[in-house]
Amino acid sequence: MSLILCRQEPVKRPFYFEYLGVRIFSSQELCYVIYNHPLLVLDGFVDESLLEFIREDLDMAFFAAKLEKWQKSGEEEDELLAMILHECDYYSATEVGRFRQQLAAFRRLSQSELLKQKADFLFQKNQYGKAVSIYIRILDMARADRGSDSFTAKVYHNLGAAYARLFLMDKACKAYEKSYDLVNNEEVLKKICHLSQWNPSVTPGERFLSLMTEELKEVCKEERAVANENAGKAKSLLELENLFQKDPIKRFQGAGELVSKWKKEYRNIMS
């Protein structure tokens, strides 16, 4: 339990962190992003724009020069990230040590596994467009590098889910079908069934139509009804209803804020 004293930082041009679609305004935010999103900062994070941000806006010219020198001398990038965490006095030495271990664990993974974890993480953060491009990168890898069929099926499955969140239903259906082809997982079949029920324009292949039993279709229907009911009780919907109860000026202002928030979210999802 404590209160951490903040450095006075004259940030004029915040650092844009593309993966999350956010601007970073302080050394504490920079540390938070590094520590909590190690998969997103593993490769190429410490670049010229970050060094400029540290030098000019965080007013840490000496430290930026040190990072630059280490970078040029071919030091591991993981060490540079740990140095940033250490210098900014936001995480304790123990936490920085834990971060180092976490990076080392990631480095032990195969390239395809590391990429999948990164894509899954982006999926969790609603960055579906970015997740899709990484899943495709994995699938473009040579079969030997990619891993087992079971691993590839998982990648196809997650790719399908990401496409579905992007409302690209045909592509989602095809990805699920490929996943099913590899491991014959009933859960994947159910998802194909859901997709076709939810969006009638989506037509699964003949083979899948025959696999979808009446019983499965009934289960999907029931699940959809429950999901629809839950959606009606969503907090965001309640907030929207509250907004419409307000007087016209506040309603208009609130609607403006909400629309710009949605726009931002949508851009992040699609990019």
Binding site: S2, I4, P14, R23, I24, S26, Q28, A93
Partner: protein, 407 residues
Amino acid sequence: MDGLIIGLDLCDAYTRICCHDREKSWSIPTVICKKKDEEAWYIGEEAYAYTLVGEGIIVDKLIKMVRKDGTATLGGTKYEGLDLLKLFLKKIIKLPMEEFFCEEIKELVITMQKVDTKLMDALMYCADSLGIEREKVHIISHTESFVYYVLSQKKEVWGNQVGVFDLSEDSFHYHELKVQRGLRKMMVIAEHEALEESFNLDILDTPSGGKLADKILSSCADRLLQKKLFSSVFLTGKGFERHDWAKDSMKVLCSRKKVYMEPELFARGAAFKGMDYLQDNSAYPFICICDGHLHSTVSLRVLHKERESQLVVAAAGDNWYEAKSSVDLIVDKQDYVEFMVTPMDPKQKRLVKIGLEGFPNRPDRTTRLGISFGFLDERTMAVVLKDKGFGELFPATDTVIRQEVML
């Protein structure tokens, strides 16, 4: 010197003005008069003169008027007390500027018997409209002026206790200071007492009245100076401009101590303080505990470079009006802010906790807390806690907590 360092003793009856390193000073009644048929303003004796010949309308007790948000109607026009004070200050500040052919004010230190936020704000407003930058204007109590005046004298003057009797037309005050030499820093503790025995100075014009006044002063001196070791005693105010009435009291006052007459003691003290504001290193390296200064130190326990330390937000001896600060802190696993208030007697130190009610729930270390401190008087601290969020990762909300803390 290119610029004046002005000490201004502003009272309801008389106002005294002087400049650092300049001998000449002015003492004029705090009155302002407007000519009946034209937009011309006069202050002091000139104001009385125009009023006596029936050409002007006079207004007095300007300080009281400002305190009460009062107004005065002159020639059919209603004037706010604040506007009249502004006109008065403009005229009086002109006196040294014209005398010394100087157009720049380096520091303006205004000293008053009683300092409160309302009057301070009013004086700052006046300074704004007179084109004097706020950084150059300071408002201090008579007690503080007394401290600066005395400590600008030779050491033998303040080796032991020092007292000052201030006898003016509307009040009788006693101030006393003592210098305590500490291991780290010298401390000056100064106190003041408004004496109930105040009297109208008109009684000094008759022999019987003079005798009565002498009796009053000697009994006050007896009561206040006994059993203490004094190095010196000062006499100031309109009442001591002549002292032929105080024969018996002088015997009491002059016994085993030096007595000085200094009519502009407070204005001079303010000018010394003004000079000190211009120095990089203060010529008065002491903690001053008196009216207008904080009697307690307020600190926050913070984590810096993984070490716990006390961040002092206001220290005992700071001028409460000028003691304003703000700091940004990151909250880590706690939903409150805790201040440590340490009075002069460290045994009485205590903790004051303010809960962060209404602040959004966020992960640890993702709430930037903006804390601003100010003082409403020397015993009341006003704290404002603001949720500044954590950049775009956790946007700020408009949650604000305002609380007053009694020190």
